[in-house]
């Protein structure tokens, strides 16, 4: 479904990706994991064509993103759904209108049919009864479920989830896990989850790529990743405070620092 070859991308002088290659299989849940600030969200934006790579190619469903015209890109996006970390619901519209938004923009369906489709999508995420609420009246978990309903409104071929579990309580987390898994299997989607929530993501992912320092440092099934001999992967998967990624920010000797006088920094 998605093939990335030799991808390089930098913001100013800061290199975010340096020769990243990966493949995302159709119909599977693929997780892209890594610590904060490694460019996981940037990778999703590159896949969606919101950013342009400095080097390399990204092919989604046979279409090279960097060579696509604006119209081709917009056509492709109609077949892609994306769940933003914040939900990105339109705050001046109700839950119902948010889910109806892509249908009204891209189809000429009569309002009665749009109603049926919206209610079906909201039923799938368990929020049919909340259709009259405004985004400000929703909890974080509910907002993400509404965003999910909106993302599947046009029956896309794939959905990209940007940190779907961040800041969720255990019940919301369980609901989201269940929804991602069930939507993927019942709608025959391809799901890409960007996350650093190891336990939750490993529980539903078919394949995991681990990203750090601009490169893919390991990939495989969740079991293979857990058994990786790499000390870095072990620290990331177990959440150990110290290891190859140090707990302490580099500093001079602690005792010397305490006993020294003068400069504050």
């Amino acid at each position: 479904m998605v093939s990335i070859r030799d991808l390089s991308f930098a913001r100013g002088s800061h290199k975010i990706f340096d020769g990243v290659s990966l493949d995302i299989e159709r119909g599977k849940i693929t997780a892209i994991m890594g610590p904060s600030g490694t460019g996981k969200t940037t990778l999703l934006k590159l896949m969606g064509g919101q950013l342009c790579p400095d080097q390399g190619e990204i092919v989604v469903d046979g279409q090279n993103i960097s060579l696509s015209s604006r119209d081709q890109l917009y056509d492709l996006r109609k077949r892609m759904g994306m769940l933003f970390q914040s939900g990105a619901l339109l705050t001046d519209m109700s839950v119902y209108d948010n889910v109806a938004f892509p249908l009204r923009e891209h189809t000429h369906l009569p309002e009665s049919m749009i109603r049926t489709l919206v209610l079906m999508k909201l039923e799938a995420v368990g929020l049919r009864g909340a259709r009259g609420l405004m985004p400000s009246e929703l909890s974080g978990g509910m907002a993400r479920r509404v965003a999910m309903a909106r993302a599947i409104a046009l029956d896309p071929m794939m959905i990209m989830y940007d940190e779907p579990f961040t800041g969720q309580d255990p019940i919301s987390m369980g609901v989201l896990l269940h929804l991602i898994k069930s939507l993927n299997s019942t709608l025959g989607l391809t799901s890409i989850i960007v996350s650093h929530d190891v336990v939750e993501t490993s529980a539903i992912a078919d394949y995991i790529y681990v990203l750090a320092n601009g490169k893919i440092i390991d990939h495989g099934t969740p079991i293979a990743i857990k058994q990786s001999p790499s000390a870095w992967i072990h620290q990331f998967m177990t959440g150990a405070a110290d290891g190859p990624v140090h707990f302490h920010y580099p500093a001079k000797n602690y005792i010397d620092d305490l006993l020294s006088t003068g400069k504050r920094y």
């Binding site: 934006k45 969606g48 919101q50 917009y74 056509d75 996006r77 109609k78 892609m80 759904g81 994306m82 933003f84 970390q85 914040s86 990105a88 619901l89 339109l90 705050t91 938004f101 892509p102 923009e105 891209h106 909106r150």
Partner: protein
């Protein structure tokens, strides 16, 4: 010295780059205006929030500005025994200058800052990115209707400002200070020219609406997507709009009345 030159060069480059982005943004916005007309409801909603909601501040300010003009004008004109021409003075000041300029400044403060904050917050909360990922062009869907509404509202608001100001001038001049009501209106009718005064004032208000709305929308769209970034963008909208309106007013006045 080298550091100063570097600073100067860096600042110039940044500003020219921003000007280029602004020009491209304006082009895309104007190109999107055509798609607004078939979806009239979008325009109507924006006419309400940009235009109708600015009416109160415009009308109250217009009334007070007209009253002050009536008062000041009376004291000056009565020294020369020319208080009957108060209507002309009030109307010419308002229609030619104060109507477009003051309502432009108020428009930038009321509607412009609201537009910047709204679009900046939409950017900060990823609503614009979300639209792009739903294959909906945010410039056509969000920016162009607001731009058109701003350009249409501003001349109407300036006209209302002037009309209410003239009534304010009459309230003070005729009602309070005893200027003859017939003279107030008749002198105004005789001396205020449609093309020189009203049409030129209209053109000014259209230009100010265009510039103030463009600046407000661009600053919102170009804002750094953080609370501080949106706050700075809102401030820039008011400051840049005020400078642009006052500078443009001088240029337009020189072009319109330079040969008189």
């Amino acid at each position: 010295m080298v550091r100063f030159l570097q600073y100067l060069g860096g600042g110039t480059l940044t500003n020219f780059t921003k000007l280029g982005r602004g020009a491209r943004f304006l082009y895309l916005t104007m190109a999107g205006v055509g798609s607004v007309l078939p979806r009239f409801r979008l325009l109507l909603n924006q006419l309400y929030s940009v235009g109708v909601l600015s009416f109160l501040i415009i009308s109250i300010s217009g009334l007070f500005v007209g009253m002050v003009l009536g008062l000041q004008g009376y004291y000056i004109l009565s020294d020369f025994g020319a208080e009957e021409t108060l209507g002309v003075m009030v109307a010419a000041s308002l229609v030619r200058e104060l109507g477009p300029v003051v309502s432009g400044l108020l428009f930038a403060g009321r509607a412009g800052s609201a537009l910047t904050a709204e679009i900046g917050l939409m950017k900060a909360t990823e609503q614009l990115s979300g639209m792009e990922m739903m294959a909906v062009d945010p410039i056509k869907r969000i920016v162009s209707p607001r731009f058109l509404a701003g350009c249409l509202s501003m001349p109407l608001l300036a006209a209302l400002f002037s009309a209410i100001g003239i009534i304010g001038g009459e309230l003070v001049g005729v009602g309070l200070l005893g200027v003859d009501e017939g003279a107030y209106w008749a002198q105004m009718q005789a001396k205020i020219d449609f093309q020189d005064d009203i049409a030129n004032g209209f053109i000014k208000s259209l230009a100010f609406g265009f510039v103030a709305t463009w600046i407000a929308l661009f600053e919102g769209y170009d804002a750094v997507p953080t609370a501080e970034g949106v706050s700075r963008a809102t401030t820039r909208t008011v400051v840049n709009s005020a400078f642009s309106i006052l500078g443009l007013d001088f240029i337009l006045t020189a072009l319109m009345f330079g040969d008189d």
